[in-house]
Amino acid sequence: MSGAKVPADISGHMLDLDEEEDLEVFSKNTSLADGNPMPNSPDSMVNQFRLDEENEEEQQGAINKDIFVTVDNPESHISAIETFITYRVVTRTTRSEFDSSEYEVRRRYQDFLWLKSRLEENYPTLIIHPLPEKFVMKSMVERFNDDFIETRRKALHRFLNRITEHPILSCSHHFKVFLTEEELAPHRKLGPGFLSRMSETMRAMANSVRGLRSKLEEFAIMQEYVDDFSNKMCSVDKVTHRIIKEHREYMDELKQYGPTYFQWAESEELLAEPLKGVGSCVEKCSKETEEQIQHLSEVLVPTLHEYVLCADTLKAVMRRRDNIQAEFEAKNEALASKATDKEMLQEEVDDLADRVEQANNALRGDWSRWRTSMRADLKSAFISTAAKNVDYYEKCLAVWESFLLSQRGESMEQRNGADAS
């Protein structure tokens, strides 16, 4: 599949591709990622995307979405040294920077980590959607457990899609490499290595000790918000987990409650029927509770979790911005005190000043973008949860009402029998 590369000069004729070729290409059974079914042709890609879009605010810049990425098909890769999971990453695009219109590669979690750190390096003050966490021992989930893999796959899918939606990040060279190169290993060796990352960290630490001379008020406000937001997200996340736990315990008890009515019905005559009725109502409601729990786990929990991670991302972004400013201020001070090398220092200081300016602007722009999508994500997750709860109660209501109707039907029968006699 990955060999279907169309040479660059035909890129203009993308839309004239043979029908047959289209079908061959797109009839492959790609599993549906959440919320973004694969489009069928470059044309309909655009339409599809428009239809899928709920939030109009996000459509600014998305109307011309020309790159689509899916993450699916997890597979175990077993070698002598280690076992790990790889995911298939499929890209379909009309962008001219890409040599072909579609790519398929296999990537492992480490590769995603690499991409993220490259992006963070190149765009230190842009807000990058978080990756799912590494395997955490305490969660007591097996590393190769199906649920865990599926959860991670969805999160990786969201991660890449957020990048494709970002006007700046989606043009990143590393992103393109990630999506297109068969083998990522050679590229991973290039670029700043471990040591340079270490020195950056040390510089950052030194700068933070020195402190900032003056922080623009807007960033101070931002910082405060980020800290508060982080707290609130953690709280909401905790409460949600607690709710799920209570639901589970409730459901466990319900599972014993229903059968007791059936047991009672065994020693009764006339009462057997209403008893069985109540018992089956309880059983049906317990099934609904199970579905309710599942919905919470699949919709609200992952979203909240991602925004808990987002809060950490934001903190890191704020730190990096502060560091850039600190570096500039340090050099600026040096310039003021030193007499020699003024010209060279001045150049450096000007460079750094530009960097600060760039960083601040990037952050400003991305901040409102992030705020918008945060609002949309959380709003939709909460709405979905509330809707599911309404649905749960409506289903249980129907169950009990039909029991009541059946009892009324019983008494009608009895009455008819009495009238007849």
Binding site: Y225, Y257, Q407
Partner: protein
């Protein structure tokens, strides 16, 4: 239905209200309403179940948590009127006169005016009068209040106990409009109820005597207090005691008992009157019947299977009550945890601009949701009480079976004794010794008796045989009478049990429906708020 103010009533209840009801159904509904009315009235009218003098409550239809109960109340009001109006006219014909659409206006009125719980109770008791016992035709009975007293007990120590106010009122007073006639009242404590019941158990051993509400709270889920002086427990017990008295008053046999009548009417001197009946002598034999281990040779299959049934019922209801309490506990946890959302959303809304309002109001709905579980579970306690009543009934059933066993045993013993004596007489007369006896041996060893001795023995035996035959006849008659009366009451009890438990299950379903509707309302509101985020 037209004319509803809040548009919430639909489905089953509406159809019931328009439904054509027979006598039997009316009666069943009357019983159910009687047992349920007080609770629902109390809740819907907005006062908590605590010991208090009779309040004059007003219904507040705008208070959100009460709306579903209001619906229930409205339903009960309509049914009450239907029953009351049909009770007036039922003496002439079997066709039900329907409360036609004209009364739907009255329904709205009833729900919006002041209504005392006395009035509503009066309407209920009306229904039992037409079909009930002579006693109920004469008077209305209720346990209106509970109060605390302190006094010296039998070992001369100070103790605090609860007393209950029994109100009785001549039945005719209800037909007057306006203020009802002041009732006769007296105070009784729980131990007096126990004494009454013990007396009845001994005096009518063939009757399944209605049980008392539990002395100590059992099958509690964690929030419910097991303290006997807790106001909610006292209130539930008050309802249970009233139920006990009404069960007695509507029993075809027990309602005619004079001691019961005195219990309702004579505060002082009742205890002495009970003791004077000398029932305690019979009580001793009753104790014997309950604890004695004896084998009956030809057990009555009906009684045996009834005993087994009541054992099974006791086991299964206990289990059901235990699990229900655990389910209640867990459900409580689910609802209350959502209260945390309320707090967190409120805090979070403070740092958000566009999302703030939506979050804040969603948080309020989460608080409402969390608070709603208290009423829901309190109402469910009454379902548990209905089940408990039948759990305790199984004991009464078992003791009737045991008493029958005792009578059967005594009958067999009497018959055995008689046939032994007859055999003895035969041997003496014919000279054959079939039965080994010491006398026989001694006479062999020490010589035959004289003919005179033998004759006197035979004569004595004959007399004894005659007495034995008389005793056997008596025992037989006693046994037959017992079986007849007992089986009569058992049939009555079976019908009552099926009726009551079916209504209990239906009312449980109604409670679940009410809870679901509340849930739909709260989460729909929350969804609206999230939409505004």
């Amino acid at each position: 239905m037209n004319g509803r103010t809040d548009g919430q009533t639909d489905g089953w209840m509406d159809r019931q209200m328009e439904e054509d009801w027979t006598d039997g159904q009316m009666e069943r509904m009357g019983t159910m309403l009687l047992l349920r009315q007080r609770l629902v009235t109390a809740q819907a009218l907005g006062f908590r179940t605590r010991c208090s003098p009779k309040p004059h409550p007003t219904i507040t239809p705008s208070t959100p948590p009460y709306l579903p109960n209001l619906e229930l109340l409205r339903f009960f009001s309509v049914m009450r009127m239907r029953i009351a109006s049909s009770a007036d006219s039922s003496s002439n014909n079997s066709q039900m006169i329907m409360a036609d659409s004209g009364s739907s206006d009255e329904v709205a009125v009833i729900c919006n005016t002041d209504i005392t719980s006395t009035e509503s109770e009066n309407n209920i008791i009306n229904t039992m009068v037409e079909r009930g016992t002579a006693l109920l035709k004469k008077m209305e009975i209720s346990v209106a209040e509970a109060d605390k007293r302190t006094g010296k007990n039998t070992v001369n120590m100070q103790e605090t106990y609860t007393v209950y106010l029994i109100e009785t009122r001549p039945a005719e007073s209800v037909s007057e409009g306006g203020t009802p006639v002041a009732p006769d009242t007296l105070w009784r404590r729980y131990s007096e109820f126990e004494l009454l019941r013990t007396y009845l158990l001994v005096t009518y051993p063939y009757i399944i005597v209605p049980p008392l509400p539990e002395k100590r709270a059992e099958f509690v889920w964690h929030k419910l207090s097991a303290d006997n002086l807790d106001p909610d427990f006292v209130e539930r017990r008050r309802v249970g005691l009233e139920n006990f008295l009404l069960r007695l008053a509507s029993h075809p046999v027990l309602s005619n008992d004079n001691i019961f009548f005195l219990f309702l009417t004579e505060e002082k001197g009742w205890r002495e009157a009970v003791l004077e009946t000398g029932f305690q002598d019979k009580a001793d034999s009753r104790l014997k019947s309950l604890s004695a281990m004896f084998r009956v040779k030809n057990p009555d299959k009906r009684f045996t299977s009834l005993k087994h049934y009541s054992e099974d019922l006791s086991t299964v209801i206990s289990q059901l009550l235990r699990i229900r309490a655990r389910v209640a506990d867990r459900l409580y946890g689910v609802y209350k945890v959502h209260g945390n959302y309320g707090r967190v959303f409120s805090e979070w809304s403070a740092i958000e601009k566009e999302m703030g309002d939506g979050l804040q109001s969603a948080g309020h709905h989460m608080d409402t949701y969390a608070a709603s579980i208290d009423d829901i579970l309190e109402e469910e306690e009454h379902y548990a009480d209905q089940l408990k009543e039948y759990l305790f009934y199984t004991e009464a059933v078992r003791s009737v079976c045991k008493k029958h066993e005792l009578i059967q045993y005594e009958l067999e013993m009497a018959a055995q004794d008689l046939s032994y004596k007859k055999q003895q007489k035969e041997e003496l007369e014919t000279g054959t010794v079939r039965i080994f006896s010491l006398k026989g041996m001694t006479s062999k060893l020490f010589g035959q008796e004289t003919p005179e001795q033998r004759e006197s023995k035979v004569a004595a035996l004959e007399q004894s045989i005659q007495e034995g035959e008389g005793a056997l006849k008596e025992k037989n008659a006693e046994s037959q009478e017992f079986v007849e009366k007992a089986w009569n009451d058992i049939e009555r009890f079976k019908e009552q049990k099926e009726k009551d438990l079916r209504e209990a299950l239906i009312s449980y379903a109604i409670m679940q429906i009410s809870m679901c509707k509340k849930g739909i309302q709260v989460w729909s509101n929350a969804k609206e708020c999230f939409n505004k985020m």
